[in-house]
Symmetry: C2
């Protein structure tokens, strides 16, 4: 996250997106740095028969879509507003200038990318070698640490739909529904009128 003051100094603009609006598309060349003011953004891929894989979900203060910006490569996924969302948008050249002139920001960018790599390392290993229960639980536990799940008297409220959990773990909705039921039976999590707590 880059401070508002600094962004403004380099000519940032604000832009609003409605729920389900596309922010950028897979295959396009990156031209901007994006940082969330409010709302929620997902980055995801669709395979040939329309099945979705969610690469990540981003909230207030977080940036997304930088890797291909640094590499001059095409976006490997789409960015879509999950809710009405307001963004800071900075043209690539301005962003690069900002980085050069503010070395401390580089460290923040590094930490941010490191954090995302860490998440992907964990989920990649989960998705390729673990059964559904393990995968779902790992996602949830990671989410408690890094997504914005809130704790109340029932425990942490897992603010994802079954479909989203499936799209993040490579499982189908029905499998997620059955897996969550099984995890509840084992006492690993609670279902209180259809909402999941851990």
């Amino acid at each position: 996250m880059i401070t508002v003051g600094l962004l403004e100094k380099y000519g940032v603009i604000k832009r609003s997106f409605d729920k389900n609006d596309i922010i950028f598309e897979e295959g396009n060349l990156p031209l901007h740095y994006y940082q969330i003011i409010s709302g929620e953004v997902k980055m995801s891929n669709y395979n040939d028969d329309g099945r979705e894989f969610i690469q990540g979900i981003f909230y207030n203060g977080q940036s997304f879509g930088e890797p291909p910006l640094f590499l001059n490569q095409k976006y490997p996924a789409n960015a879509i507003a999950v809710e009405n969302t307001e963004l800071f948008i900075l043209p690539k050249e301005n962003f690069m200038k900002l980085l050069e002139e503010n070395p401390k920001v580089s460290i923040q960018i590094i930490e941010n990318l490191a954090q995302r790599l860490y998440y992907k390392s964990i989920m990649a290993a989960e998705i390729s070698t673990h059964e559904p229960e393990h995968r779902v639980l790992k996602l949830i536990d990671h989410g408690i640490a890094y997504f914005n799940f809130q704790k109340d008297k029932n425990g942490y409220f897992i603010n994802f739909t079954r479909q989203q959990i499936g799209d993040l773990t490579g499982l189908r909705v029905e499998t997620v529904i059955r897996t969550i039921k099984a995890l509840e039976k084992k006492g690993e999590l609670k279902i209180i009128n259809r909402k999941v707590y851990r």
Copy 2:
């Protein structure tokens, strides 16, 4: 990749590892920056029944294991020498000092992390939503661009065993063997005395 001169200025040491030696283990706290002088290193996870998932393979000049170093988190995977390997090793404090005092290195680190995130984004989507043929082909094509595959008269020589391809794509050896045969039949790649070319 950080230049030798700079590394030496900050007190780097050299160390040799034999084939199959463990460089660091999952769960340990990172204490050093590692950069390969010669040889080959893999980072991988093992699940409860010993099944391996390879997070990445690294060659001459490449560094590995930085993300948890920046985050003060435990290593999410093991690092193992695939062949006899020589490494530059720099203690964490020295590495951080190097970064602070040499802002341009930050940009290189950023580009490196961005590259690895890009690879992981692609493979994560592959592993969770595509069939074996698509996964194997995508890995191979990515490998041609980013691993050190050599081109000869038969095409690019895919310098991976079937087992390695399986461990990188979340498939079993037998499945990889059958998939590669199927891809050859379709003309997507060549098998010349058991070696794979594309």
